[in-house]
Symmetry: C2
Amino acid sequence: MGLFVHKYGGSSVADAGKIVSVARRIAGVHDAGHQVVTVVSAMGDTTDELIDLARTVTPEPDPRELDLLLSTGELVSITLLSMALRSLGYDAISLSGPQAGIRTDNAYGRARISEVDPARLQHELAKGRLVIVAGFQGLTPDEDITTLGRGGSDTTAVALAAALEADRCDIYTDVEGIYTADPRVVSKAAKLSEVAYDEMLELAAAGAKMHPRSIELGAVYKVPIYVASSFTDAPGTMIQQPSDEALMEDRIKVTGIAYQTNVAKVTVCGVEDKPGVAAALFEPLAASGISVDTIVQNTSADRTTTDISFTVTTDDLPQTLRRLSSMAPALSAAQVISDSSLASVSVVGSGMQNTPGYASRMFRILADGGINIDMITTSEIRISCIIGREQAHEAVRLLHRGFELDEG
Amino acid sequence: MGLFVHKYGGSSVADAGKIVSVARRIAGVHDAGHQVVTVVSAMGDTTDELIDLARTVTPEPDPRELDLLLSTGELVSITLLSMALRSLGYDAISLSGPQAGIRTDNAYGRARISEVDPARLQHELAKGRLVIVAGFQGLTPDEDITTLGRGGSDTTAVALAAALEADRCDIYTDVEGIYTADPRVVSKAAKLSEVAYDEMLELAAAGAKMHPRSIELGAVYKVPIYVASSFTDAPGTMIQQPSDEALMEDRIKVTGIAYQTNVAKVTVCGVEDKPGVAAALFEPLAASGISVDTIVQNTSADRTTTDISFTVTTDDLPQTLRRLSSMAPALSAAQVISDSSLASVSVVGSGMQNTPGYASRMFRILADGGINIDMITTSEIRISCIIGREQAHEAVRLLHRGFELDEG
């Protein structure tokens, strides 16, 4: 008997028919003698619709209130799925995030899970029940409801798998697994049967459709994560720590090409060039929950001032500019310039570790394709370039071919 | 400085514009120097829509799952109202039933409030906040979500007023107050400026639009309840214990005429006429949460068997018949007959206490109108007749005129 955590995304539970299909799949796992905890997202576009509803009342909804509002989306989907299982003759129970013991900090809209108390989950599993848990939500120490941010249901699922010491966490979604590149962009993209946590983390952060925090959690707690389609039985992708042999083979090549099209660049010009300037700039942004990615600093010709550029998501750009305008005088900055028409493309692979030549090869491929590079950032197993958004798809195709991923 | 609990029903918060209107009204009370706790129902027909949604998955949704689903309706309306207040510049916070300290038994779908822990409410009020609370919902000792049944938000509001020792509980609705009869049926119906708890309890149980449990609670905890329109500033009706002088004046006449059109009658024929039969019949119905109203028992001609008739709401009829069919053999009943086309009309007034003649006058008025009486039930301050549903409106008009309420 195994214990599995399943996660179904919004498109997998978009209507009553799809919910009944998911119920049948879960029932099948139960019939095979396993215990199952299922995490679900809100139905279809519910979360976006609730945000739109809030905006009919106020252009900038209070974050605490918005989180309590958004948490209702998952309550609807878990109760319907539990009802569907019960109508098929299975003993099921739905639990909200708080009921499932998910505790978070109080960073509304992007809360982080601080703890999972699995007592209620274990109690219901011990009764032989199929347990359905609301993804994306948790409870603060003050007993207020939080949401975990976009894709937070993935994080919920992996956190529950870790807390319950489950055998595996299955993420069922509208794609069949993790590919060497977005198959909608690159027709020759190949499905990966296996990918390492650190590679997936870079792919996730760089645009593949998985929540990066869920991968981090999986890596820390060594939860094998299986990504597959909720609509077909095609084999998916297993995210786990590779065995040593697999690692050696991986080393010979790049794993995949990722991209993001929601990149905005902000440049703060004419900042006084002295110690502490970067901290003074980025601390208030971090305090506002704004996640800053690539950072580049150039000293000006006269060497007394400097320009600092960084990227944020286009969603975070308005708030970033507001925060900057309130502190610009303190930084004696001459000017703040922003460009919200950018994208990032990334080459990812653990085979790149300590192996020179990948970066220069990437720059050459982009240059030959007439694609201008605005900024560059690297990690141990990833090289990312910031480019114009309209060239993003072409860049992904060129890199996929250039790094010999087209051959499969 | 006063402390008021306001309650707004679903039609008062049916869309964003109406929610902003309610926010302005609450803000006005705050500006006048008062503390306000506002209880709201789900927007418009949300609760019915959620029930319909559940039925797309299963014809008979599990009660626990249905309650968790239905509880989302109020979470949407409280968060939107709180956002609206915040956008007007007021410090507001929304609280779910559980967050507001509302504890209930575990009778899903018709839970009763066992306790209100006002700690969080008082904490938020002490911060100078406008507190918005989800009506209709609470938390069981096992930390599961319950709903209080139709109209349960009224009960939430009065319970909070009692727990907070508020000065008054205002129920804002789509009518301007309590009338001597339904104004849609009787054009000469007059608004009552004041009504006693016990009279209102009979009017509420007999069809006026207030949740009877809220009136009971108000009477026990001596919470003055003010019923008025959420759309106009017209004076409403105060429900409270009348002063002695008012009581004396009330004694001279009937307060109002109430009616219900969702009445079904069930007759169990040929029941063995021996002690314990009625208990054997009604205990299982009570255990199923079915509320039985009028009960009549007739002994048959041969005096060995008896017929027992009783009324339930038409909503409860299918479940009642199912329960009866499973126990009929045990009761050696020959037959169960039901009629779901009935209504009740009631004459209510504390002036009827210990005063003969009201019942016979009611029967005469109905007889003169050609209306046949099927069953009769009385309380200290109410006489009700079960009649055919198609004659209900006519009966209300005849009784309103016959008891001299047309004069106002």
